[in-house]
């Protein structure tokens, strides 16, 4: 019975995961900000480390700038057909201060996620949130309402990091004549 396999036996999902791994590592390679870790339970697990500016609220309640975040991305085996971003993502950095990130649960809201969205697209969406290039200004569907009100009052501070995730390639080699 034909089961949508490639001639080497790969399923469409395996082929997809292989591509995400290659593209994700290529993005990290061309970024000064992103590092992509592939834990032992790979292939469907990735931990993205962002060396970017963002905000946390510490135990004393003070909002301060930090420059390192870790977020896990997991692809379930039916990801090409249905996707629940909350099941896939986990914020490992505690205390992230953002309307789209829960204050005490490891949850981040990147908005609607269409099945089959690439790892690279997800990594960009997470980056935009961590650096306040994007945030949800509506309290009623925010994961952190307090941060949401705070963000509206402090819009002049955003984004806290405006660098693009991918290094702009400037090829300034001087050619010897």
């Amino acid at each position: 019975m034909s089961t949508n396999q490639f001639s080497n036996g790969d399923t469409i999902y395996q082929r997809f995961m292989e591509r995400q791994r290659t593209e994700g590592l290529a993005l990290a390679e061309s970024s000064d900000i992103l590092r992509l870790h592939i834990p032992p339970m790979a292939p469907p697990h990735f931990v993205a480390e962002y060396l970017c500016k963002g905000l946390i609220r510490d135990a004393a309640g003070e909002i301060k700038e930090v420059n390192r975040f870790q977020v896990g991305v997991w692809f379930p085996n039916d990801y090409l057909r249905r996707a629940d971003p909350f099941e896939m993502l986990r914020v490992f950095t505690p205390g992230v201060w953002h309307p789209n990130v829960s204050a005490d649960l490891p949850m981040i809201c990147i908005g609607r996620l269409t099945p089959n969205t690439s790892l690279v697209d997800i990594l960009y969406q997470i980056y935009d949130i961590l650096t306040y290039q994007k945030y949800n200004p509506r309290e009623d569907d925010s994961l952190n309402r307090e941060a949401c009100s705070w963000a509206r009052a402090n819009q002049d501070r955003f984004p806290v990091d405006r660098r693009p995730l991918k290094r702009r390639s400037l090829n300034l080699e001087v050619q010897s004549l």
Binding site: T3, N4, P76, L105, T114, P115, N116, D141, L143
Partner: protein, 347 residues
């Protein structure tokens, strides 16, 4: 003639409620399993085949009472839950009939029909244009499935509940008239009768019939297997495995089967409550997850850490829990190893 068994998903809705009496009157039908999570409310009386006495009753309960009045000998089972949450073994039948109102539920019905190697009839109605549609999906090895005809846009329209409410696309009522639901129901009943009488001899092509009641046009089309379909079209060979989920431990199951997977679900290790923010570490099947013991909101996965498969390495520390404690039920079909599928049956 061999008597037939049927599963009707979305049994109490606009089309389902009109379809059931037709099915109960077919002499070939011996058993009908009704699946629908909803309860009748005021608004349903306007378009569904019920009366005011049914308001407040679970749809499957109200409908099974009606079916028993039509045929007291009919074997009727009522399951008040979403089709994707029902143990797959309870859905084995000669024909799966679905009258569903969401893309995600249809996607699950499609998957279940293939796994159980059951022919499937789906329907849909579009009130704004007075369209009634019936789709026939036979089980031939190279037959197309629902998703064979889907493109990226179809997948992006799949309803998904978001914990932060970000653009949730819940299914909304079709606002179709009772007459249109009854039309789709009659078309389905006729196809069912043809299938059972042997008039449709296999292999039959996958067919779609659309009745455009506004312009009096009938359109039929056939579809073909899409080699790039995102669904794998695998079917199961199910073998019984006698055990009681209440007394069999995870450890014993792993010893007997090697690994345990319940397709369509995952095992969650870190549970969180989106309402009161309580966190809990335990092993549970997301069928969906149980309610929070503190506030009653349904628990969610903390993300990233769910397991598709249990094996000695991943579930060792939970070996003493029973299968019932981690969320398995009688009738669940356990996939273990590469292609073995076993049915949990009470001893």
């Amino acid at each position: 003639m061999k008597k037939k068994t049927l599963v009707v998903a979305g049994a109490g809705g606009n089309t389902g409620s009109h379809l059931l009496p037709h099915l109960a009157r077919m002499s070939q039908v011996e058993r009908i399993t009704l699946v629908d999570p909803d309860v009748y409310d005021e608004g349903n009386v306007a378009v569904q085949n019920i009366d005011r006495m049914d308001i407040g009753k679970p749809k499957v309960v109200a409908q099974s009472d009606k079916l028993r009045k039509i045929d007291p000998n009919l074997d009727v089972t009522a399951l008040q839950e979403r089709i994707e949450d029902v143990p797959r073994g309870l859905l084995r039948c000669d024909l799966l009939v679905s009258c569903l109102d969401s893309r995600v539920a249809r996607q699950h019905a499609n998957e279940i029909a293939w796994r159980l190697n059951t022919p499937w009839i789906d329907c849909g109605i579009l009130g704004s244009q007075n369209l009634a549609r019936v789709n026939l999906y036979p089980t031939a090895p190279d037959a197309p499935c629902l998703e064979c005809a889907w493109g990226p846009d179809d997948y992006s329209l799949i309803e998904q509940e978001y914990l932060c409410g970000a653009g949730s696309k819940a299914a909304f009522p079709s606002m179709a008239s009772s007459a249109l639901g009854a039309l789709a129901a009659s078309m389905m009943a006729l196809e069912t009768a043809k299938l059972f009488s042997g008039e449709l001899t296999e292999p039959i092509a996958a067919q779609q019939v659309v009745f455009d009641a506004r312009n009096h046009i009938v359109r039929t089309s056939t579809s073909r297997r899409n080699p790039w379909c995102r669904f794998d079209h695998r079917t199961w060979a199910v073998r019984p495995w006698r055990c009681k989920p209440e007394s069999t431990t995870v450890g014993a199951a792993l010893k007997a089967l090697g690994s345990v997977r319940i397709e369509g679900h995952r095992f969650v290790l870190d549970l969180i409550c989106p309402a009161c923010h309580r966190q809990e570490r335990s092993l549970r099947l997301n069928r969906p997850l149980a309610r929070c013991s503190a506030c009653g909101r349904r628990m969610a996965s903390a993300g990233f850490g769910s397991l598709e498969n249990l094996n000695q390495k991943t579930a060792g520390e939970y070996a003493d829990l029973t299968l019932a404690q981690i969320g398995l039920r009688d009738g669940d079909i356990v996939s273990s190893g590469k292609c073995e599928h076993r049915l949990l049956e009470a001893a």
